[in-house]
Every structure is written in C-alpha cells, then in structure tokens.
Symmetry: C2
Subunit: 549 residues, 2 copies
C-alpha cells in the first residue's frame, strides 16, 4: 500500500517513443523539450500524486532533453540517466539494452564477502570503468570476492569522491556510460566477483541540485551538517521514497549490482511507522524473489544500534549488514598511538579485543568523545553482518594529509593489521592499494565551480581537522595536483611480501572451516590479552584456530 | 549501564540537613544560597558527569533557595519541588513525608481502565487538588476507574492548560502542595480510583525556563514547532535522560501515581540505540517490582506506529498503551459533518468502522491532510492498549470557541457518541463534564507576563485555526474571563438522563464478560454497515453481544 511504485525519468520504448515521468506536485504545467526539435514542446499530463507523464515520438538514445516549467525555465531531469555535459547541462535518453552473459551468477552471500573498496577516478590511470575492468584479473588473483565502488552518481566537475552527487540515477559522465558499467558488472561476475555500489540517500551535493525546483524532496525538520535533510516523512514524502527506492532497484535489477552500501543511514531521519530502510528492504527482498539472485544491503551506521540489521519480524529494518567503524578506531589507535579526535575513545588492546568479540566497542559505556553513554550490544547480530576494515576512503581521506597506514607504519605492522582484519570473524573490507602498501595518499578532492561554496568547503575541512591537532595547512581540495597525487601508483612491490601475505590470508580465510562460523556466541572464544598479545580462538565446524596478534 | 541514576534537586535528610544535586556540566563554580541566611553561600562540589552536590545544614521544609553561578547570577533549581512565588521566584525545600493509607492498593490493569480526564484549575470552583478530592464520591458513583490529571508542573501565571510548564518536578503553586497531591492520590485509592498524570517530556514552556542556564537540555538538531527540542541523544544527553526518568519515577514512586500519560511522544526525537521511551519503560518495570504495584505508561502518539506499545523483546519500546485520535476524528466527522482541517481525512461510517476494528483508521492509505501514505496496522496490539475518546482537552479546547459536542448536538446524539465509545473495545477516556453534557466551553487560556510572547501565541493560534475555516475572532487566551468561562458549571441535569446513561454504560461494560475481551483478532466480529447503522459483535469469554449504533 505504501510503496507507490511510479516510474521516474525517461524510458525508451521498443517503438522508438520515449515515456517521461516526473514528480512535480506543485507545478501547474510542465513539458518536455528535446534538442532534436527544440521548437516543439511536449506538454505532460498530470497523474495521481503529483506525477506528470508524456510519451514523446521519434526518440533515440543520446537525445538530450529538458523539462520546461510554466515560467519557461528549463531544468534537467531529477531522474536523469545521463548528463553528457555535467550537472548544469541537459539530460539525455539512455538505452537499457545490454547483452548480459552472467546468467550463471546468483549473487553473493554474506559469509563469502571479502570486499575491496575502490574509487573509480583514482583506482587506475584512466579513472573510469574500463580501468576497473582491466584490473579484474589482478583482483581475482588477490582473492577478494566483491568490489565496492564509491558513489558514481553525477557530481559537479571532473573529480569528486562521489558524495556530492546530484543526479542519483545518472552515472558520472567521465566514468563511462551505462553500458560501460554493465560491462564492468558482467565482467566482474565472469571473474566470480560481486559488485557493491555505494549510494547516498541522506543528502544531495551542494552544486547542481535541481530537485528543489520540482518537489518537496527536502525538509527543515531535521538538521544535517552537510546539506538539507531529505524529506522521508513529511507532506509529499511518498514521491521522495519512491524516487530512492526506484534508484536502489535500478542498480540492483537493471545493472545486476549485487548489493548497495548506503552512506550514513544515521543521517536519514524518518519517523514513519515503516522506516524507509524497512521499506527498501521489503522491496529488495521482492526483487530477490523475482530475479532469483541474492541482493545485499549494507548500512554505514554510526549509532551502535542493531535495529538496522535486525530482521523485520523482530522489530528491525531487516538490512543485511552494517559498517563498524569502531573496529578500525580500536586497531588504528593501538597501532599508531593516535589519541586525538574520535581516537580519544580508544587506545588500548582491550578496546580491540572488545571489537573482535562484540563488534561494537561502545555498548552502553561512556564515550568521552561523544560526551554520552553510547550504544547497546548487538546480541543477535552475527559477525558476518558487520563490515570491518583497517583503512577505508574516510579513514584515510579524512586525515589532514590523506596518509595511509603504509606512510607511517613498518611493513611488519601492516601485516599485523592485515591479519587482525582477515582473521577476525567480521566481513573484511580492504581499501584499494592497501594490499600492496600503496604509498600515495588518498586526499579529499573536489572540482566545484562556485567560489562561495569552495570557500565554505575549505572552512568546513579546517574545522573538522581542528579536533585532531594535526599540524600543517589543509591541502586545497580543488587542486588538480591533489587529485593526481591520490591516484594509485601501482608500485606493488614497495612493501615486500605484503601482497602475498594478503593473498595467503584471504586464501586461509576461505579454506579453513573455523573461519566459516559467524555465530555471535561461539565464533570467537577464549579471548585474552597477555604480555601485549591479543589471543583468541576462531571456532566452528569442529575446528578451532588459535590466533595471536 | 546507560541509566546514570543521579538524584536531582533538594532532598531533606532526617538530621535537618538537605542534600542538593544539580547538573551543570559547563559551569566552573556553583553554590547554594538560602533565604534563611542569604549572606552564606554553600559551594557545591563537582561530581562525575557534570553534577554538583552539597549538603546544607539547618534546613527546614519551605526554606527558599537559589543556585548561584560564578557570574553571581541567581537561578531557581531546574529540579525544584516547589516555586512558592511562581516561575520567576526562588525554589523551596519540600518534605516528602506523608501518612499513606493505601497499602491495599496494587495499581490498575489496562483491562480495568475507564479514564476521566480533568484539568485541576477548571474542574471545580476552587480549582485545586482539594476540589478534586471533593468530587471523588461523584466520580465513584459515575463508575470511572481512573482520573487523568492534565499537567500540573509549575507554569507561568495563574491559569494554563499545563503544557507550558517549566519546572517538571514542581507542582503548580496554586493547585496545592506536594502533600495535597498525595492526599488526593491517597483518597482516590480509597475510592478505588487510580490516578494517571499527564507529563510533558517533549518541550518546556516559553516563559520562565531556566534549564538552558544549567546544561545542554536542548538541541537544534530537530525542529519542533512549539519550542526547542529536548536533547535526548546529543552530547550530554545522559543528564537530560536522567532528569526526565527521575521525574517519572518521582510521580510513580513517591506520589503513588498509577500511570503517566506522556504528551506528544512523536515530538521526542531520539536516535539512541535505546530510545528514551524504552529506557523509561525499563525503569518503570523495575519500579513495579520494587513497589509491587502496577504502573502504566500511556503515549500520546500521532504516528500510527505500533512500535511504542510493542514489547521490548519484539523490538518495541514496551509502553502500555497509546492514544488513538483517529477514533475521535472518525466519530466527530460522522456526528457533526465537519470536514475541514484534519477532519478532511474522515467523514464516513466506514472510517468509524475501521477504527472500531483496527484502532488506527490510516494503516497505509493516503491521507489527504498529511499529504502522504500513513501508518501501519497495529497487528499485535490489543484493544486495551489503545485509548479512545469522543472529546478531550485538545479536541474541545483547540476549537475556535472551545465548544463541546453538547453545544451543537442533541441529547440523543450525545448518547449515541457515549455508547460508541463505551461499547468499543478500546480504553475509554471521558473529558470532564462530558458525562452530564456540560455546556460551558473549554477554551485555551494562559496567563503569561511577556508581551512579545503573548503576541506570538495569539498569532500561532490564528494560524492553527486557519485550516478549519472557523468563523469569528480568536478568543484572547490571556483573558481572565476566558478562563472563568471554561470552568465546569456542574449543572448536571441540563441533558436529561445523560449522566445515568453514562453510569449504566460503564456498569454494563464492567459486568459483561464479552466486554472483557480485548484480543485484536476476535474481540470485534462481523462488523458491518447497513442502512447507516454500524453493527458489530463484541465477543469473548463465551459471550457475544451485538452492538448497533
């Protein structure tokens, strides 16, 4: 009843026509204008719930179009599939045709996940999907089972981490076409590698956002520090909910994506009786039935609240897994001795032991950094619902100089970190280049075009860093040089033996029966700290392995 | 672990000393000053988590005191038990001694509840607790089993509905003393009547709020239309959570109150892993164990979300019951034909039938008024977890002229409404005077002292009423006359037979076995509408009663 299931955007039909559907409830008239015949306007017809629709004749893939409002203003499509000239240009029609050859593929289970996070623009010299395809053999050799691609939604300018996307349905025009992404997914599946896509449903980027011209996508009911909150529960929220659910289903269904990593779900505010995450899960479970493929939803969550990954029948939102930053923080503080910023809540081996066993470190204790008692125990959450990492885009890129662990730690320490991650019962996530000790930094980079916005951005970064007492100037995120420095060097031999060590750990993890047990109550046993050594048993399937770190 | 359980306020000790405890984490020094020796200051000692404590010698009940800040400013106690001179005056020490004679009393079960809502200031000519005591015989004769007292926390001025309270621990100085309230509760229990207290934990009133001088009680993370949001999840929230949980326990434990009605819990925003309502429930269940008395938590909730009254083991917050305004709206629209404001979502007998059976009318359908699909089914919620009413302080008082149903409907229609309520499976709530067809209005009244605030208030009322197309001037809430008009007339014979009809319905409800079944799946059977008559069976305990309305 709740999900309204209305298509959004431009859908090419077999007969050469194209059906347009846009949500614009406050509008009194709206039409489609194409570049093929700019003098013609195609008035849309108002449907239920504020949607407008029209079918336009003689269309072809690549044809550009605008929505024209009664005030004559032209706007791109909020559900645009392609912005050939970037965020300020026209939208373009895209064909969904593709010759898939992954019929054998059934998706991936949580217990099989070994994730490799990558950023399309800096992963390879070409900085696009073709580049990623060229590395699939390498990734297969490494042994990872899934790549997680940082957000690819159209963002302003040439480079961006992806969290400033403003067209959630359009692939960033410099990364490749829709067909290129399908080629990547298809090739990954041929390599036995699943594809997880990072999507941002908690805000839109600060430049090129056309959504507020169309409908109440935003609300001032909740305050978000990095943009307007998305209206998931106020008047008109059904159009917003439909928009994001359509988006998730597009990636998972049309693009054969195996899972979504949902950015900062703690910043998605929703007081509805059915939380948008629960509604999304429900829709994705139905897609699993239809497609006969497993689809995974992973939440980035900073609440130490198991509700998101608890089954719906037990009062949860039914998502599959969540990130646990505290595993990272515990390990990072122990390895580096850093105790500023949020690391002030960590720093002893006990913290790491706690995360190894409980996933969350804070399960009700007082957090000095948050200035409150924080979290509850994830009692009924199994380990393979928790994604752990020793580095990721945030934990590296949100450092003043974007320095990786390899910049400050000796090779042996990098190996220790790798073993801690890969022998832990959690889902491991590697950050691109980590496996060979990449020395290049991963810095924060943007290429916005609005001066005032750029100034605000730099000021924001400065404030964020103030907590950490890092010394030095904040690198200019707009600099081309900063972007280029952040590309992987692919000097895979700089940390001798590290790549092979990762390879062996991954193989060990896949082979050993004890590593296949993810039950909360017995997968980790007899954990203790002696003489500065963390020791525990990985237990299960009639096998026990003693791990000493 | 989460509940910090620190006392707040002034506690008289047996040896004549008094222990003070106040939460003021940002303060660098703070002392107690009493009116007995204004030249002496008692410097407080900083404890953990920003609490300050000191024990002062030679104190007596009634002794007035202030907290003195390092900047020499004097402030009353946020947890003051008594404000003898109102919100702008000093706080005073109160003795907790009382000779209770209700040892036999064990609280009240949900299945027994027949609630009578009253406002202390307008219920009787004296407008205080003694007035209520004088009416207990009358209420016993009527047959109700619980009174629900509108908020009594100290508010500014002489008259107020109570939702502008600014000292949640202090009883409004004109209603009576703490001992008077205890006398009322004790006497009610002697009459077999439970006492429910309406408490406001979602905001503080706009005048006389001293809390922001002490600690981060408020947050700008969530936007509330009637004041600053309470900080239940940000930095320092533990002090806030402790404050409100102490408050709830004070009423339920020290004052022997049987239940709390929590005002607008949908306006309590909390992203914590353990929601403040869940934490409160947990604490109240422990009190039930300690006191061997049943204690009830009722939420006023405008979300059609059963999570609040779902058991904790099933992922809910574990509260006992919630208000269902939609029962009222459905009945009111049918009876009066009003279809403006939120009544636009109602108006047919089908709506009433739906509420009779499902409690919520909107369980996923599109609400024209909210401009969204709304609610889910309260599948596992039993009927005696839902409080229904045909009038209440809001539904009468938030009408332009505060007119009751008796002002516009003939006696027979009032009886029909009464039967609809009392034969429904829900917990019935009567609004004072309803049982005899009181003709006096119940208007919105305040006695603020700040000009700008008064202007804002009137403007707010005007905007609220705009949705309803009511004609006429908004009565001046500050007028003494408006307050006096709102007092019950006690002309109990103006609607002949109505009081006896209520009495008989209540007696019938208590006597009939079929009326004691509240199970969602079979308490209401064969509901149908024929020739404009709503007909259903009340079924249970091997008895079926056919109800035609």
């Amino acid at each position: 009843m709740i999900n309204i299931n209305v298509p959004v955007g431009a859908s090419l039909n077999k007969d050469g026509t194209c059906s347009f559907s846009v949500w614009a409830p406050m509008c009194s008239s709206i039409s489609v204008v194409t570049d093929a015949a700019p003098e013609d306007t195609w008035p849309m017809k108002k449907q239920k719930l504020g949607y407008w629709q029209v079918t336009v004749d003689d269309t072809t893939p690549g044809m550009q179009y605008w929505y024209k409002f009664d005030d004559k203003l032209l706007r791109p499509d909020p559900a645009s599939r392609w912005q050939p000239d970037g965020v300020h240009g026209a939208s373009a029609i895209v064909s969904t045709d593709f010759n898939w050859t992954d019929d054998h593929w059934q998706g991936i289970e949580l217990s099989e996940l070994i994730i490799y996070e990558l950023h399309t623009g800096t992963f390879t010299p070409t900085g696009n999907f073709q580049g990623i395809i060229s590395k699939l053999d390498y990734l297969q050799t490494l042994g990872i089972t899934a790549i997680e691609i940082m957000p690819i939604a159209q963002f302003p300018g040439h480079h961006n981490w992806g969290y400033d996307g403003v067209f959630p349905f359009a692939i960033h025009n410099e990364y490749g076409s829709a067909a290129d992404l399908k080629q990547l997914v298809n090739a990954a599946h041929q390599h036995g590698i699943a594809v997880i896509l990072d999507v941002v449903y908690n805000h839109l980027g600060p430049e090129g956002n056309c959504l507020h011209h169309f409908a109440p996508y935003f609300t001032d009911k909740y305050k978000l520090y990095w943009g307007d909150s998305i209206n998931f529960d106020g008047a008109g929220c059904d159009g917003v909910r439909n928009y994001y659910i359509r988006n998730a289903l597009m990636w998972l269904d049309e693009f054969h994506i195996d899972g979504l990593r949902l950015d900062a779900v703690h910043a998605i505010f929703d007081s509805s009786a059915k939380h948008i995450m629960e509604e999304l899960t429900e829709q994705v479970r139905q897609l699993e039935q239809r497609s006969q493929r497993r689809k995974i939803l992973i939440a980035e969550l900073d609440l130490n609240n198991p509700r998101y990954v608890t089954p719906v029948e037990k009062g949860g939102y039914g998502m599959d897994a969540q990130w646990v930053d505290e595993f990272h923080h515990a390990l990072h503080a122990v390895l580096t001795g850093e105790l500023t910023g949020y690391y002030e809540d960590f720093g002893s081996l006990e913290h790491l032991a706690r995360s190894m066993q409980c996933s969350y470190v804070y399960t009700g204790q007082y957090s000095q950094h948050r200035k409150r008692f924080f979290g509850v125990e994830p009692k009924n959450v199994s380990y393979n619902q928790c994604v752990a990492f020793i580095q990721n885009h945030d934990q590296v890129g949100n450092r003043l100089l974007g320095d990786r662990l390899s910049a400050s730690l000796p090779g042996e320490a990098l190996k220790l970190a790798a073993a801690t991650l890969l022998l832990s019962p959690h889902i491991p996530l590697l950050f691109m280049g980590e496996e060979y000790g990449e020395k290049n930094p991963f810095l924060f980079f943007t290429s916005h075009s609005e001066e005032e916005l750029i100034a605000r951005l730099c000021e924001g970064r400065r404030k964020e860093f103030a907590h950490f007492n890092w010394e030095g100037e904040v690198p200019d995120p707009q600099s081309e040089e900063i972007f280029n420095q952040s590309k992987l060097s692919w000097k895979t031999n700089e940390s001798p033996g590290l790549f092979i060590f990762y390879q062996q750990l991954i193989a060990f993890r896949k082979k050993k029966l004890a590593m296949q047990n993810f039950r909360r109550y017995d997968a980790v046993r007899n954990i203790r700290i002696q003489n500065n050594v963390l020791q525990f048993e990985r237990h299960g399937n009639e096998e026990s392995l003693i791990v000493c770190l």
